[in-house]
Amino acid sequence: MDWITIFSTTIKSAVGVETVLYGIAAIGLNVHFGYTGLLNFGQAAFMGVAGYGLAVTVVVLGMPFWAGIIFGLIAAVILAFLLGIPTLQLRADYLAIVTIAAAEIVRLVFRSVQFKDVFGGSDGHRGFTEGFYALNPYPTGNYGFNLGPIPLFFNHRTMWVITVGWVLIALACLIVHLLMKSPWGRVLKAIREDEDAVRSLGKSVFSYKMQALVLGGVIGSLGGFIYGLGYASVQPDVFGTETTFYMYTMVILGGAARVLGPVIGSMLFWVLLVLIYGVLSEAVRVGYITFMDTNQVGALRWILVGAGLILLLVYRPQGIFGDKREIAIDAR
């Protein structure tokens, strides 16, 4: 067994590109679900419109990188309004249905043959990251250190992406922290508990839900940018529904309605996933495990993640950071 490689990839995954992009998008989802009680099952679509906003602006329109970021953000805000205006006045479950459908519509439009000229069909787009890497302050090379025998190194491109990513995570956490300690955040949490009570106290519930949807959507869109930049491509199927479900797992894992919950959740999620995959595929390769091949390991790790999530919900439903007392309270 090549334990050195297993530990190296596992430890690197704690801060790697996936952790960053899912973590930041999950922070946005936490604003929706954890704080405001909005069942948004279309968070992947916010990532998608941002990633594609950037890619299409640069590749198809031939405009600079910053214009792409701005168009991506505008696209996320427009998506929030499109989702919110018809549904936020209705019961909570309608938002769930509409968001899951809207996210699929967005994905199917991106991969449609009709719009292949604009969105690039199922192959998506590449070649829109030059503007970003032109700003890279890290000279070419590998960066990191050896932890005993374990090498922990990222190349200069990955370093630049995850540096920007962690700065964005820090900013997003700071903003969420400030907001949720404020009277504004109090209104959101109150809406999660009982909308009618909030109305009876003179607050416009619709307006606050819309603000929460836009804020969480814009934070989520940052995850889409990081994806596009980190992998130097966007493809429609990356922004599918399961991406949103991973983010729900992270939010619950870390503890809903906790500022750092989604970040810790994302780190744990990827560390476990990479560790399980590393150990199992090595065990298959070396011949300790004979009843399956390396391809099946990929599927098995998701089964184990699912089982782990069930155990988590049974034994620690409040997540890592959650408050046991809160869960004990019947919400109604």
Binding site: I175, P183, R199, L201, G202
Partner: protein
Amino acid sequence: MHAETMSTDRKAAALAAFKDLARDPGVPKPDPILVVDHVVRRFGGLTAVDVGHVEIQRGSITALIGPNGAGKTTFFNQLTGFDTADAGSWTFNGRSMNGVPAHKVARSGMVRTFQLTKALSRLTVLENMRLGAQKQKGENFWRALVPRVWRAQEDEITERAEELLARFKLDAKRDDFAGSLSGGQRKLLEMARALMVNPELVMLDEPMAGVNPALTQSLLGHVKDLREQGMTVLFVEHDMDMVRDISDWVIVMAQGAVIAEGPPSTIMSDQRVIDAYLGAHHDAPLSEGELEAQLQEAEAALEAEIEEETQK
């Protein structure tokens, strides 16, 4: 004893306003804060509310009573913007309020509580209270990001919240989650929270339901207190002893309509009210002969039954 004199003043003023009023539904009041005309709400074929005309006297405690399903809660929902009336208009302080959304109704000074209490469970008692305050700078997204802007106002709000909590004997619970309170304490919290809005008219839907008798006394005291502070109270209640104790005037609803009004001391002897609560023919007294006949009928039935049993 300043408070004492003021208290009797307010009560006397309220009672004087009602002194010579007729007992008819919709009777005009000298200084109404709320005037309702022809409000109708139907659910399919059922007309839940059909109120012709009703006025609520400013500075008084008015009770709204009626049998279960009379439409009291539905009527509240129409007036406070929580439901959309099929027809009708109403004015609060002379301002037309039909079609105004619930949060704007509350902002204009007309605040209601709910029959089924709505404590914000996973917020602390103190946060529940703070939420009630109006015109909070920190409730604006951008200003929320700069604590310096709203900190001072938040401190004022907290102070006011703590005063109210002390008055409602909830100060020991200030940092507990509202979801951990008992049913009666939740009723108290909801009422205290409504007062944080600084309302002119407080509409309480069964504030005493499910509250233990010891707490009821203090709740009654709080309601009377509201009038002393110049507020108007409209409340729904089933317990007639309480209605008699605190209200200055009583409005009776049955099957969606206002059927009678009057002072609490005499309202229950009004024939229309008795009919509404007990059905129209409940009180036709039985004559001696009828009684005798009923008794014999019962005896015969009993004997027949015993015979049947023994034959088996």
